[in-house]
Amino acid sequence: MTNPVASPQVSSQRMIKKHHVAIMLLHWFNALVWLLELNTGAALIQSEHFRFAPQWFIVLMTGIFGTRANLLRFHIAVGLAWITVFLVYGIFGWRTYLHQEVLEGEVALDRDDWNWLHIRVLRILGRSDEPLPPQGIYNAGQKLFALAVYAMVPLIAASGLVMAFHWGSPAVAGWAVVIHFISVAVVVSGLKIHVYMGPVFPEEKPAFFSMITGVVPEEFAYRHHRKWWEEVKMLEKMHEAGELERQEPARSSGFVKALRMKQYWPPYGAALGLGLTLLAAFLLVGQGIGASGGFTCCLAFVISLAAPDYASSHPYRSRYVQPDAPVLMDLLVFELIGVALGGLVSGWLAGRLRWSTDKGPHLSERTRWALAFAGGALSGAGARLARGCTSGLALSGGAALSAGAFVFMLSVFAAGFAGAYLVRRLWL
């Protein structure tokens, strides 16, 4: 392309698809894992040579998990989950969406890429104002980072496994510590630029949002990833000319269809799913699944951090404050995190993620929010009084035939139906 002026076909409105949903999910999962692992890992370092986190940070992190041993367990648990997810993606997703992107788009540096790096560095130093060579779907800087990550991740995972399960002799474990630390440091040095470029650096904003929406404006692709833009255009032209056979609508299995369907699932299907999940919970951890207890644990944790004396001397609150035991390391808190993630993923797959407010037709949004807050407060207090909410008491207790659960259920429905008549103007 010799014509530097945006050609009339390039629109800033049109969006081009850049990322597969699976890749976006993987990206944010990975981001979350790195956030958790870097923070817990920094607090776990014992060696004087490597420790860099300030003392207050170590105290805070250890405080969240109660003991250092718990902190370590959490670090290992998240690490294992990370390795598992990447293995699953690697094995099952390789042919579908990793193969092409990884080898051709993310890693292989061509002549243009080397020139790009060269000119980019000179430009940063103020020694050149040459235009940057055209780039593919990822620019050379991104490719370098990807290379470093791909090289380091197996080292991080392997050394982590060696440390976690004490494989090999003490000498091996000693080397594992060093390798773990250095390979993480290599990734972090690139990660700083990666994080700066994404949410902070203004020119790369569209790239950041493409990780949420999956698409970039055509203009952005044209300016920053010219070679990729040309590919997309060429494919489009071939489509129009009928040279490529129209891709027949992707034949997806019933399972995939059920995951991506826009409508809600039929109630009995969802009921079967929830019932089996509940049963699994009883089998695996010996109790059902609750929601309101997790809130109580979080709140108790915050109160005991902010006002430890008040928390431990208060006759009711002190029940939830255990001086030595970890407050946040509770089944209920983790379940709550899981519930939020599950809702997020389900909504995402069905295309239901958007900022909105559910309200009756005659209500302003602000009134609705105020009422929602009030309703939340009532149900928070009610759940404490009843020792559980719709999930933890009615559903889980009901399945275990707890008498209290059925009393609770009856009064929830009684208040709901009676209240519905009184507040019908809010909803109808």
Binding site: P267, A270, A271, G273, L274, G275, T277, L279, F282, L283, L284, G286, Q287, G288, I289, S292, L299, I303, F334, E335, L336, G338, V339, A340, L341, G342, G343, S346, G347, A350, R352, S356, T357, D358, L371, A372, F373, G375, G376, A377, L378, S379, G382, R384, L385, A386, R387, C389, T390, A399, A400, L401, G404, V407, F408, S411, V412, G419, A420, L428
Partner: protein, 201 residues
């Protein structure tokens, strides 16, 4: 007789299992449409019976699963946590939660899913829960006697009615199926009504 379940998990596995259980739970809640206050409140105006169907359906599935697995000797019911009964606080707490449900449009679990899918009302409901729990904690000493009243321990329905678990499980299943039939009839009648007279507001 030693049963395999419930498992005795190490802390590491326990964390992963609880996140996973929560994940699947949240996933199905969202799939059922319980991230929408409009759908949830529809139950209380007899427009949409999915709350009842899902709640009772899930209870029946899990209850029958627990029952048969313990009959088969795979599960030890004595190690399964059964919520304790506090008659009066649970009655009052249910009323409060029901009132909060119809006023705010959610219950605690569904508000988490709603907030996770971007519902701002769900987010405010969630903040309200924290406020409610906080205030309850502050005033609990004043209502302490009430909060502990009607304590019956981990009482179960078979104990209340002095019969076997099997009979109660059968009865609960029968009531649930009856409720499903009523729900189906009601929805059918509504569709017919709307077909004949147009949609009601």
């Amino acid at each position: 007789m030693s049963s395999i379940f419930p498992l005795n998990l190490s802390v590491t596995v326990f964390i992963q299992v609880s996140i996973l259980l929560g994940f699947v739970f949240g996933f199905f809640l969202e799939r059922a449409g319980f991230s929408s206050a409009i759908r949830l409140k529809g139950q209380f105006y007899f427009r949409d019976w999915s709350v009842l169907k899902v709640l009772f359906g899930a209870i029946v599935v899990a209850m029958l699963g627990l029952g048969w697995l313990s009959v088969a000797g795979v599960l030890d019911m004595r190690s399964v946590y059964i919520p304790e009964m506090f008659l009066w606080p649970q009655l009052a707490g249910g009323l409060l939660l029901g009132a909060g449900f119809i006023l705010g449009g959610y219950c605690p679990g569904t508000s988490v899913v709603a907030a996770a899918t971007g519902k701002l009302d769900g987010l405010f409901f969630l903040l309200g829960i924290f406020a409610g729990i906080f205030v309850f904690g502050a005033i609990e000493p004043a209502i302490h006697n009430f909060n502990e009243s009607g304590a019956r321990g981990a009482l179960t329905l078979p104990q209340v009615f002095g019969t076997t678990t099997g009979v109660v499980a059968f009865a609960v299943t029968a009531v649930a199926v009856g409720a499903f039939v009523v729900a189906g009839r009601s929805e059918g009648a509504r569709r017919l009504f709307e077909k004949t007279y147009g949609r009601t507001k």
